[in-house]
Amino acid sequence: MLQGRLWMEARDAGIPPGWDYNPAKWSQRLPIVGLATLGFVIASYLALWQYGVVERVWEPFFGNGTRRVLSSRLSFVLPISDAALGALGYLADAVAGLIGGVDRWRSMPWIVILFAILVGPLGVISIGLVIAQPVMYDSWCTLCLASAGVSVAMMAPAMDEALASLQHLKRVREQPGRSAWRAFWGLQQRPAAEGRVAA
């Protein structure tokens, strides 16, 4: 029975067992990569202003808000500014979203889990910064809010793939002699284990 299930996994065109679509197919992943790219552009622009490369910063609604937020002490609490850190985060999201083929949820779970880990904290930090704008500096920053919206929008779509990977690892762990650790890194199971499964 286990053997049959493994076979089905290998032959079902990348759709995880019990699912009705493949969460790692490109039509699922490219929109997230697009959002990450948009976030990268926004955050880079804000970082360029913070480092004096761009003279003026776009702010249609809140007057001095963007300048006050971006030049605040909180923005420079780390060695690089918050917007620069955000830009790096979005870049990492986009790259992690692109690595691997359409069955990466089972062929390389490590990148799927890494992707989810990268997307998650970025969203959490964004919300923290959104709270800090009015509470600490009595200001709003339009593009900072847009960037936070982008990072929140990326979270849910990134999680379905992680769920498929985690379910896959759990199934592997339940097979006698098969290593979830090796499956996590997308490695072949050891021959002895393979033999037992095939027997």
Partner: protein
């Protein structure tokens, strides 16, 4: 998904309300903290796969309902807190349509092996198995 997007709207309204209603602290800060969290959790819950995240807003909605008891607030703000808190709480319990199947979802990760009642184990009828066995 619509209920979750309305939840996002409630959160965004709470972010804007202090300026719109001319609120002062501590109620304004309360809104400025609770609003973004409600909006973000609502946004995550809009995804089908993470729909259960909508329940994470229950404590925030309850806090919003109770907050007028803990801090001095003008009547308009009190009405707003109760309305927004009540709406947010109700929206937490609207699941909405989930069209896709997720192999038993996150709960499938907790089920013990070979539990035939566990969801998410894929099609396991004998016919399916024999079809694919080499």
């Amino acid at each position: 998904m619509i209920a979750q997007l309305i939840q996002v709207g409630v959160g965004v309204w709470l972010m804007a309300a202090p300026a719109v209603l001319g609120m002062t602290d501590p109620a304004a800060t309360n809104y400025h903290i609770v609003g973004p969290i409600i909006a973000a959790l609502g946004g995550v819950a809009a995804g089908e796969c993470t729909r259960s995240v909508r329940f994470w807003n229950v404590p925030l909605a309850l806090w919003l309902l109770c907050s007028p008891l803990t801090m001095a607030t003008p009547e308009a703000v009190m009405i707003n807190s109760i309305t927004a808190g009540g709406a947010s709480l109700a929206l937490c319990f609207v699941r909405g349509r989930v069209q896709h199947q997720y192999g038993g979802g996150w709960m499938a990760l907790l089920h013990e092996r070979d539990d035939p009642s566990a969801p998410g184990r894929g099609p396991t009828t004998n016919a399916d198995l024999h079809k694919h066995t080499p």
